[in-house]
């Protein structure tokens, strides 16, 4: 490790290239994971378009759209953090990551508030709850179950992303990531962008139309 790269690589540039490619391939894999969710959504929406319109009318557009804004800003901060890292501004990069994480945590809190509101309204996954007694539209249960599955899986990804960012911030502050060896930061931020990107598709499907 004396030359700054693992011995099976020729150079630290090659190691960074491998790490970046590895992350991109992993992101491709993640897209397919959510692809299954989108396929189910398409299938059930084609079965019951009215029920999906009714479900979307009941979702909390305000909170959902606020969350979209939070994630977009957090992604911007994350991208700025990479810029700062490349310029060798370690503290600035860490500060921007703290900002990213704060917004991510705020996203999760708002999500939980939303879930609580749904539970209070008698909406649970699997078509359980008072709401479905009052609204017996066929397909409505599928909409809400899918909603919980999609946003739940996304929330798990947000949590993993937060963990990844926290580890990266710690490494930054301990001086382990320099301008030449920045790929752990770049990879963590790439992952965060994917989380943002997936939400950009979940948002219209479950909140807008």
């Amino acid at each position: 490790m004396s030359r700054g790269h693992a011995s099976h690589f020729q150079s630290s540039e090659q190691q960074a290239q491998a790490a970046r490619l590895g992350m991109w391939v992993f992101l491709g894999s993640e897209l397919l994971l959510f692809g299954g969710l989108f396929a189910l959504y398409a299938g059930y929406r084609a079965h019951a378009p009215q029920a999906f319109a009714e479900g979307i009318a009941h979702s909390s557009k305000g909170l959902g759209s606020t969350n979209t804004g939070l994630l977009l800003i957090s992604s911007t901060l994350a991208a700025l953090s990479v810029h700062a890292g490349r310029a060798g501004q370690r503290r600035r990069a860490a500060l921007l990551l703290f900002g990213t994480m704060a917004l991510g945590v705020a996203f999760l809190i708002i999500k939980l508030v939303e879930y609580r509101a749904h539970f209070r309204a008698g909406i649970y996954p699997g078509g359980v709850g008072q709401f479905f007694v009052q609204h017996p539209t066929p397909g409505l249960a599928s909409f809400w179950t899918l909603y919980f599955a999609a946003t739940g899986l996304h929330a798990v990804h947000v949590s993993v992303g937060l963990l990844l960012l926290a580890v990266t911030t710690a490494a930054l502050l301990r001086g382990k990531l320099m301008a030449e060896r920045l790929y752990p930061l770049e990879n963590a931020v790439l992952y965060w962008h994917l989380i943002d990107l997936i939400w950009i598709f979940l948002w219209p499907l479950y909140y807008l139309a």
């Binding site: 491998a18 590895g22 491709g28 894999s29 994971l33 396929a39 066929p138």
Partner: protein, 542 residues
Amino acid sequence: MTTVADLPRVEPNFLGAQTSVRSWLLSTDHKRIGILYFVATTLALGLGGLFALLLRIEHLTPEKTIMEAMTYNRLFTLHGITMVWLFMIPSIPAAFGNFLLPLQLGATEVAFPRLNLLSFWIYVLGAGVVLFSLWLGGVDTGWTYYAPYSSRSPSAVVPALVGIFIVGWSTILTGINFIVSVHTLRARGLSWMRVPLFSWTIYATSIIQVLATPVLGFSLLVVMLDHAFAWGLFDPAQGGDPVLYQHLFWFYSHPAVYIMILPAMGVVSEVVSTFAHKNPYSYKALVYSTLGIAFVGFLTWGHHMFVAGMSVFDAGAFGVLSMLVAIFSAIKVFGWVATLRRGSISVKAPLLYVFGFLFLFIFGGMSGVAVAAMSLDVHWHDTYFVVAHFHFVMVGGTLTAWLAALHYWFPKVTGKLYSERWAAVASALVILGFFGTFLPQFLLGNAGMPRRYYNYAPHYQALNVASTLGSWALGSGLLMTLGYLLHALVRGPSSGANPWLSRSFEWRTASPPPERNFEQPLDLGLDAYDYTAGFSDAERRP
């Protein structure tokens, strides 16, 4: 013994470098991880094979022979789960791929050695959870976990699903590791179109692993939620659509067939070239057909669902796309046969298995073209015809290629030679036993015997007995193989560096290889299949 091929080495080989248990279980050496995978997947093969033998014994008589109906249901489910996910998916890619990919690329490691070790232990964890479900009484849904039965079955569905979900992570991480290795770690001078053919198939397989496995993971996750919390996404009683489950499941599980067969094809390409001592008839055709199968494999899943409610147009489209796979496969088969033609052939155990492979794979492949046509499939669907078809490809194809790989690279890994005579006897037992087991099943299926049934009509008995006898020959061939290979491991004579006189890159270093794979960094501006130069006397000496 100090022959030229056995010159004193600067480094100890990877087997002797460290010998503690810890140095094996926590090794990040791709060669040791390959061996760990080999041991684990072979144990899975033994377990899955035992289940199969028990199932065949049960079918000796039309009514109960040795087990209850519920036991039968659980055994065929576990046979499928173990063979597909614990043996066949990782058998060639994770075991042989790990050992050979860096050697064939002229690299000292895979791109992410620690991730590689993690993948192995994730596999072990997942396999453990699957076996835990066995202890809880097993699963009776069939390896396909078809909804809505899987949402309701009183058996231990959830642990079996969790186990496969975990194994899926191992598959994805291994895939990422191999893709990145091929992209970034090729030795100086090794351009893409000179990468050895086995590595090409591992590369294509890895792409399938990375893209298909998450869809399986997602589908199984939903079935888990359906079973554990009654979410009902695939349960029609709650407005769910079980056919959507089938689409998602086969979107993974059909490409998964190519995860199993592509590396087998890579093995055959290597063995044919080495034992004919001739360059492949067309290297490019073999590479492009590999990529073609990997791509088209994603577009054929619907042929599993011809009777599940599908428009005539869809069925036709899926049928034609499925037949494209046969075209790519035929290109390969002709390529291999043309490579053998006028080659300087030495008939050794690996090549015997390849002969078996060619015969069984053509048989299985052609029956695949037949079931890809909807009109025929409606007749054969859910009968033993389909069971025979996929066992011809999976066992006749993948298992024989796995045995070819095992015999071909055994000296590479251990530096020892096994008895060719015993190997020839065992290969005859395996191939004939296999044929005896599954040929009757084509006839049974065509005569209308449904699959997965505990009882059968008495007039099917003769063929069932034939099939069971075949399974005993197959099983004894495999046990014999285990016996003489273990004997060779301990007592076998030294093989020297290159006993088969191969030109492929992995044979250009000592056998077993040194810890760092090569004595000095390689410049691979060479052809892995260039046999024009012939061999020196020093190379010919055993």
